[in-house]
């Protein structure tokens, strides 16, 4: 890991994240996946939005874009379509990716453009200090929900699938090695890939909801996650209150930027 840090991180550590924040763990999982696949560092681009998690891009030694809140995906789409040779990885938060960025999320999935999106799901807006997000569980406390949240959270994996994503996986900061694995698979997948990385914000989600310190929150991840394989053997009752990790969905569909070449061929034939 030390070598990976040397190679893939910019000399800007320590990072700004709070003590115990899971963002550092998820970020290193991304790096390990990149290293595992041997991606060309010069041909790999990381795009993020705005949020604590989206600050990750600044620490990583690639071409990186820290874009606007919610807008990582359009920027990533522009990069990938303009230069399909680049590996484009998107880092986003639950607020960034599914609140203000929700429309880009479903449309990018629909187009099946070959981007790998790692959504850091800490169930809260960390950067702005603890407001609820579309992935905050019902009945949680947040600074904008002093009486508890009413809204249901998205099942972001289901949503991605319904929107057209061809690879959907979930991992956790606790299961960091497995997270590396599902991210690597997502990067290898030729199409839109979503990896939901469940992570802890002990400061804002944890404190307000009495979830304990970082270690306790990691243990909660450990205790509530069930692998897709294990889940198959469990009854609905046994799965109550659990969430699945692993590859949740994978399918084949034409990839957008590759298809686009067909348009060019057609146009140039016509033009001649």
């Amino acid at each position: 890991m030390e070598k990976l840090i040397e190679k893939y991180y910019r000399p800007r550590l320590p990072h700004i994240w709070c003590p115990g924040c899971g963002n550092g763990i998820v970020t290193s999982s991304i790096i390990k996946a990149i290293d595992k696949l041997g991606l060309d560092q010069d041909k790999t681009v990381i795009v993020s939005g705005i949020g604590c998690s989206s600050r990750a891009s600044g620490y990583l030694n690639f071409d990186t874009v820290h874009s606007l809140h919610g807008r990582a995906l359009p920027v990533a789409t522009g990069i990938k379509l303009a230069d399909p040779e680049l590996n484009v990885i998107v880092i986003t938060g639950d607020g960034d990716g599914t609140a203000i960025g929700g429309n880009h999320f479903i449309h990018t999935a629909r187009r099946n453009i070959n981007l790998t999106v790692i959504l850091f799901n800490n169930n809260i807006y960390g950067m702005t200090g603890g407001q609820y997000s579309p992935l905050t569980p019902t009945d949680s406390k947040a600074t904008t929900a002093p009486y508890g949240t009413l809204e249901r959270a998205f099942d972001i994996a289901e949503l991605a699938k319904a929107a057209g994503a061809t690879y959907v996986a979930r991992g956790t900061a606790f299961h960091a090695n497995m997270l590396v694995d599902v991210i690597a698979k997502g990067i290898s997948h030729d199409g839109f890939s979503l990896i939901e990385a469940v992570t802890q914000c002990p400061i804002y989600f944890g404190r307000q909801n009495k979830k304990g310190d970082a270690s306790t929150m990691l243990k909660t991840q450990r205790d509530h996650a069930v692998t897709v394989e294990a889940a198959k053997k469990l009854s609905p009752e046994q799965l109550e209150g659990k969430f699945k990790i692993g590859v949740l969905h994978q399918s084949e569909a034409p990839e957008y930027t590759k298809q686009y070449q067909g348009i060019i061929d057609r146009a140039q034939k016509g033009a001649k």
Binding site: R10, R12, Q41, D42, K43, V45, V47, I50, S57, G58, N61, F62, D63, T64, V65, H66, S67, L68, R71, L73, P74, V75, A76, T77, G78, I79, K80, L81, A82, D83, E85, L86, N103, H104, H107, Y260, I263, I264, R266, A267, Q268, G270, A271
Partner: protein, 375 residues
């Protein structure tokens, strides 16, 4: 070989983009700009470029920002409502210094307004539409051939200063068809982006040359740099200190202001001996040419100062004009926008009269003539 064609302003704008070497367009349809998107959808694949219709205007500008980072010349086109939606990203491209060109074909506002009728109501928005301090370059063509040439010019400026350039068309110019002589695109000099002159290890992404503009590396070429909308220092990484903040914001403004004479473009029409100066731009300038010709026949000494670059505003030139003429008239298809700038520049030296029309119809030459005669 040059061709003589009858084209719409919107078409000429799209062709100008192709001629300038644009290979990427992302946008969202909106009247009266849609033809630009439609033509790019057809033309770009022919030249090996890419067109993508995004889910909304925000995504449209977001995608061209991304594509520009890979070294492509890029375009998006819109009208009022979409222009409002793009504002946040315009600020991003400004602070992150990403060259992009945005065509805004103006229609009647506010809000949905009158989608198919002409106005020039977004001129001040072009200057101040995004939050925070930022410089702006905006150009306004007054003919179909100028739509073509100014679009190419927009790329020159955008690439040179690493910033968004706005093409402020109006529905009159965007939708009218007139004669245009289009040169062979191979004969047109394509604006070039200034690339790094040092290797990746020495490269500081936001270290400016003496012209205030940092060289820009294409993504994917090994320079591995960081692009952010946060205040940053020469490394490109966030730095919110007072010194870094002031330095960055000052440089962003300075790189334009120091070159204002090079950027400023205007046309003088029968202005030499004029006692009355009409200051106008875009579609309304067409009425002014005609009105001036009519007035001159009646012996009235009137001429036009036509703004071609509207932002940065040619304060110096207008101040000089204010010394020379007896009255300045500013006809516009809005409630009075650029007239405020003219007033500011004139500093009370000469009366500045707005002639604001905001009823969704162009100003006819006769109306303008009558106004001038009634002064």
């Amino acid at each position: 070989m040059a061709k003589v064609l009858l084209l719409q302003g919107n078409q000429a704008c799209a062709e100008g983009a192709i001629a300038a070497g644009v290979t990427f367009f992302a946008g969202y349809p909106i009247t009266p700009s849609t033809e630009i998107a439609e033509i790019m959808a057809k033309r770009l694949p022919e030249v090996g470029g890419k067109f993508i219709q995004m889910e909304d205007e925000i995504a449209g500008i977001g995608a061209i920002v991304g594509a520009s980072l890979t070294g492509k010349k890029v375009l998006t086109a819109t009208s009022g409502p979409g222009f409002s939606l793009k504002q946040e990203f315009i600020g991003y491209a400004t602070i992150a210094e990403v060259p992009i060109v945005i065509a805004n074909v103006q229609r009647v506002g506010p809000s949905t307004g009158q989608p198919t009728a002409p106005a020039q109501g977004d001129m001040m928005q072009a200057r101040w539409g995004t939050h925070g301090d930022h410089p702006v370059i905006a150009l306004t063509p007054a003919s179909v051939p100028e739509c073509f040439t100014l679009t190419i010019k927009a790329y020159e400026l955008s690439e040179k200063y690493r910033m968004p350039v706005l093409l402020m068309l109006d529905e009159i110019i965007g939708h009218m068809r007139e004669k245009i002589e289009i040169p062979d695109y191979d004969t047109i000099e394509k604006p070039v982006r200034k690339g790094p002159r040092v290797g990746p290890s020495e490269f500081k992404a936001y270290e400016p040359d003496s012209d205030g503009v940092p060289p820009m590396a294409d993504f994917g070429t090994g320079y591995r740099y960081h692009v952010t909308g946060l205040v940053h220092d020469e490394t490109g990484f966030p730095n919110g200190s007072a010194a870094a903040t002031e330095k960055l914001l000052k440089r962003l403004h300075d790189k334009v202001e120091r070159d204002i004479d090079k950027i400023t473009m205007y046309e003088e029409y029968k202005l030499d001996d004029a006692e009355i100066a009409i200051v106008t731009y875009g579609g309304t300038a067409r009425s002014a040419y005609a009105a001036i010709d009519m007035a001159r026949e009646e012996g009235i000494k009137v001429g036009m100062f036509r703004l071609i670059s509207v932002w940065p505003f040619p304060e110096k030139e207008i101040a000089q004009l204010a010394e020379k003429v007896k009255v300045i008239v500013v006809p516009e298809l809005n409630y009075g926008q650029m007239v405020g700038e003219v007033k500011k520049a004139a500093e009370g030296k000469v009366p500045v009269k707005p002639m604001s029309k905001y009823d969704s119809e162009p100003i006819s030459p006769k109306e303008l003539l009558a106004f001038v005669k009634n002064l």
